[in-house]
């Protein structure tokens, strides 16, 4: 038995010793690669968060409708306050909240949070979209473990054992190497990345109306988040960004969704900037598809947002401080 245990230890020891540094190195390579294809350029934002590089007064949260719409370099120039866009492609409030927690943990807190809300924000989901984006940051990250525990994408051991979460990701390593060897860089500037595309014609064929089920747990989480912001003295501004007018007809429970956010704005006395009736919403050439503006549309929207934001108490408070 002693011989067996000894041999087992001799065999396993090199693997154990090398696992942690190898995990660190792989995670570093992946996060620096931008790995655009896998996770829509989220690594650059996560890197900025974990490196403590974000020194912003205004933080923008949301889904792809945040990072594609809110031109934070433009906002920084116009408002005279650093702005950063934390929008997460395809992700609802649960993972937005996780990002918020990590942001506050490693950076100074913002003075204003613009929360881009829509039918995506509180939608019930089983999986995390772009779960690859968490891989480099997961090891021994208790917050990430807790916040993603309700999804089936990860197991507890993925957060505890080095390299376990990378098993089978050969293609990811190949892509990382290829991207790192190329000139490909992150397109996100202060977290914002406009899309230079026109309208996608295939969309119009679908006439289906969708019902986006609201997850009660996410409603409670949003409530908790807003309460925390009150305690942390962070102003929150809810923003319902433009949707192409035909798209609104495809959301079966649009009123229910809107009213959920409206009720929160009343409860916490929040500014609620609603762009559902905005004039650009019927101009297809400013959209990529129903929910997403292209870069020109983002310019118009951000201009309007800056103008409206100047009338809010949030900016008045920023100017005072």
């Amino acid at each position: 038995m002693n011989k067996f245990i000894k041999r087992l230890v001799y065999f396993a020891l090199p693997l154990v010793i090398i696992s942690y540094p190898l995990d660190l190195w792989i995670s570093d390579c992946i996060s620096e690669s931008s790995c655009i294809g896998y996770c829509s350029d989220e690594f650059s934002v996560w890197d900025d968060i974990f490196d403590g590089k974000i020194d912003s007064d205004i933080a923008v949260y949301g889904s792809s409708r945040a990072w594609m719409h809110f031109d934070t370099p433009m906002m920084t120039d116009s408002l005279g306050h650093n702005s950063y866009n934390f929008g997460m492609n395809g992700n609802g409030f649960l993972t937005q909240y996780l990002r918020h927690k990590m942001y506050l943990k490693h950076n100074r807190k913002p003075k204003v949070i613009m929360l881009s809300v829509d039918y995506f924000t509180l939608e019930k989901r089983d999986h995390i979209i772009n779960h690859f984006q968490f891989l480099p940051y997961m090891l021994w990250n208790k917050d990430m473990m807790e916040e993603t525990s309700s999804y089936s994408d990860f197991e507890i051991f993925d957060f505890l054992i080095p390299l376990l979460r990378y098993i089978g990701d050969f293609q990811l390593f190949v892509d990382t190497y290829q991207i790192t060897s190329s000139d490909l860089k992150s397109k996100r500037d202060r977290g914002f990345a406009g899309i230079s595309k026109g309208w996608y014609e295939g969309i119009e064929e679908t006439k289906e109306v969708y019902h986006f089920e609201i997850d009660e747990k996410l409603v409670q989480l949003l409530d908790k988040f807003l309460q925390e912001c009150v305690e942390d003295d962070i102003e929150v501004v809810l923003v319902y960004a433009p949707i192409y007018y035909e798209g609104l007809k495809r959301i079966g429970n649009q009123e229910e969704i809107f009213n959920t956010f409206y009720d929160f704005s009343i409860k916490y006395n929040l500014e609620f900037l609603d762009y559902l009736d905005y004039e650009i919403n019927c101009h297809k050439f400013l959209f990529v598809d129903f929910p997403h503006l292209n870069d020109r549309g983002a310019y118009f929207f951000t201009s309007a947002l800056i103008e409206d934001f100047q009338r809010t108490k949030a900016l008045k408070r920023l100017k005072r401080e």
Partner: protein, 482 residues
């Protein structure tokens, strides 16, 4: 918990520690620990079905005890049949109730009679096809006086529920496994090291070969109506390696785990893809099941000894039942009957026991004839596996029709084909390693044993490296559904 999971690694490590360090030299405590550990292992799958294993154990233990002292032949038969009825009754209900009901209704409607029937939402208990056959082998052997029944209920429970082979075999014979629970088990370094090697190889087969092949097999089978004949051939080949890697990988892990605990389980796969004919294939594929059917069904039916007609009849019965054992679907029955059709000419021309030794024993390469024979046999098994994998007979027929169409001579084309190329290379590497190690119990058993230790460790690290790089998203073991 799956064998290829961190949960199982923790479970096994803890169990190993308790078994060899706490229970140590005490056989009774080791056996009790096996029962507790096995029930815990099974309970983590689905605690609701622990009662079934317990019931099966109680019934067959009691029948065994009664058979020991019962001299009256009629009463002995009644006892035997009560065990058979209970075990097959449970199996039949959970596995085949809906199948028979649906076919019954369809048969009546074929004759213009509509009848109502309520199919039940029945969950198939994991491992039921395996442990019921295992306990049946006990009562049958006791009945035939091949085995003395055990008085020790703990030992019997341990035999029935032994966790390494509980959920997907090998189906152990009481004559082989039961006596091992009565013998003092001392730790053997060689056995344990060999067990670890076999576990490693099993994990490679499952995680790298089976789970990767599954991805493409599923893709092609699920979209078979959009694929060319050549692509469908690729899909069938992927499925063949999926099922082999999956099932034999599981068996390797089961056997390796048992060896860690001082037990010897029977080999379940013996390099079946190197078979030169279908008869040899069935001597090398799922050996524990085929020998079970041979000993407990084929031979009692008369085997090959009562004339040609009986020989043919018994052969078809065996393959039909074997197919049906796999699941409640006509596709499995057709799969079994296909193999019967392939097998029968060999049996009738007395060529079914031509190849008893491994191909090209002691040689590096097979002869051209052997190579062609292996390829042909492989082709037949791939063909039959189309039925095994298809959703229904219609699906299988349309699949095969497209295979044997002009599109067979086009280049395969499916989504993710470029990513499948490394997997194809891995399959080739796998076949190569299996070929090199074909004279052992499992492929890497003897490879590197005489090498300088760091070099041997390098081989194992390379296998672990391949698992790390190419391990695919975990798919459930295929045979869990049986």
């Amino acid at each position: 918990m799956m064998f290829n999971s961190v949960d199982f690694a923790i479970f096994l490590s803890t169990f190993f520690g308790l078994y060899w360090f706490v229970a140590k030299d005490n056989l009774k405590i080791q056996n009790l620990l096996i029962v507790i550990g096995s029930y815990l292992f099974y309970g983590l799958w689905d605690w609701r079905f622990l009662f079934l294993i317990f019931l099966s154990s109680v019934v067959d233990y009691s029948v065994g005890r009664k058979l020991e002292f019962e001299a009256n032949q009629v009463k002995r038969k009644i006892l035997l049949w009560s065990s058979i009825v209970v075990n097959l009754g449970i199996l039949g209900f959970f596995k085949y109730y809906n199948f028979f009901l649906e076919n019954f209704i369809e048969a009546f409607s074929f004759f213009g009679q509509e009848i109502q029937g309520n199919s039940l939402n029945i969950i198939l208990p994991v491992g039921i096809s395996f442990y019921t056959f295992q306990t049946l082998s006990y009562t049958i052997d006791v009945y035939k006086r091949k085995l003395k029944p055990t008085k020790d209920f703990i030992v019997f429970s341990a035999f029935v529920s032994f966790f390494p082979q509980l959920v997907a075999g090998p189906i152990e014979r009481a004559t082989n496994l039961l006596p091992q629970f009565f013998k003092k088990r001392t730790f053997s370094y060689e056995k344990a090291a060999d067990g670890m090697r076999q576990i490693l190889w099993g994990l490679f087969k499952k995680i790298v070969i089976a789970d990767n092949c599954a991805e493409y097999a599923n893709l092609i089978f699920n979209h078979s109506d959009q694929c060319t004949g050549s692509t469908l051939v690729v899909g069938a080949v992927f499925f063949t390696f999926q099922i082999y890697g999956d099932f034999s990988g599981y068996s390797d892990i089961a056997i390796g785990t048992a060896r860690l605990l001082g037990f010897d389980l029977k080999k379940n796969f013996s390099f079946p893809f190197f078979s030169r004919d279908i008869a040899e294939f069935w001597r090398r594929w799922h050996i524990s099941l085929t020998t079970w059917f041979r000993d407990y069904l084929y031979i009692p039916l008369g085997g090959s000894r009562r004339g040609t007609f009986m020989k043919i009849r018994n052969t078809f019965i065996i393959f039909l039942v074997s197919g049906f054992w796999h699941g409640a679907n006509w596709t499995f029955i057709v799969w079994g009957l296909l193999h019967a059709t392939f097998f029968l000419p060999l049996l009738l021309f007395k060529r079914n026991r031509k190849h008893l030794d491994i191909v090209a024993k002691g040689k590096i390469f097979p002869s051209f004839r052997e190579f062609v024979a292996m390829l042909s046999t492989f082709g037949l098994t791939v063909f039959a596996f189309i039925f095994f994998r298809a959703n229904d007979i219609g699906h299988a027929i349309s699949y095969i029709s497209e295979v044997f169409s002009p599109s067979l001579f086009t280049t395969p084309d499916f989504i993710g084909m470029m990513e499948a190329i490394p997997i194809a290379f891995l399959v080739v590497l796998f076949i190569l390693i299996e070929w090199i190690g074909r004279e052992g119990e499992y492929a890497i058993e003897g490879i590197g044993l005489r090498w300088w230790r760091p070099l041997r460790y390098g081989l194992y690290y390379a296998i672990i490296g391949l698992i790390f790089l190419f391990g695919n998203e975990t798919q459930e073991f295929i045979y869990f559904q049986f």
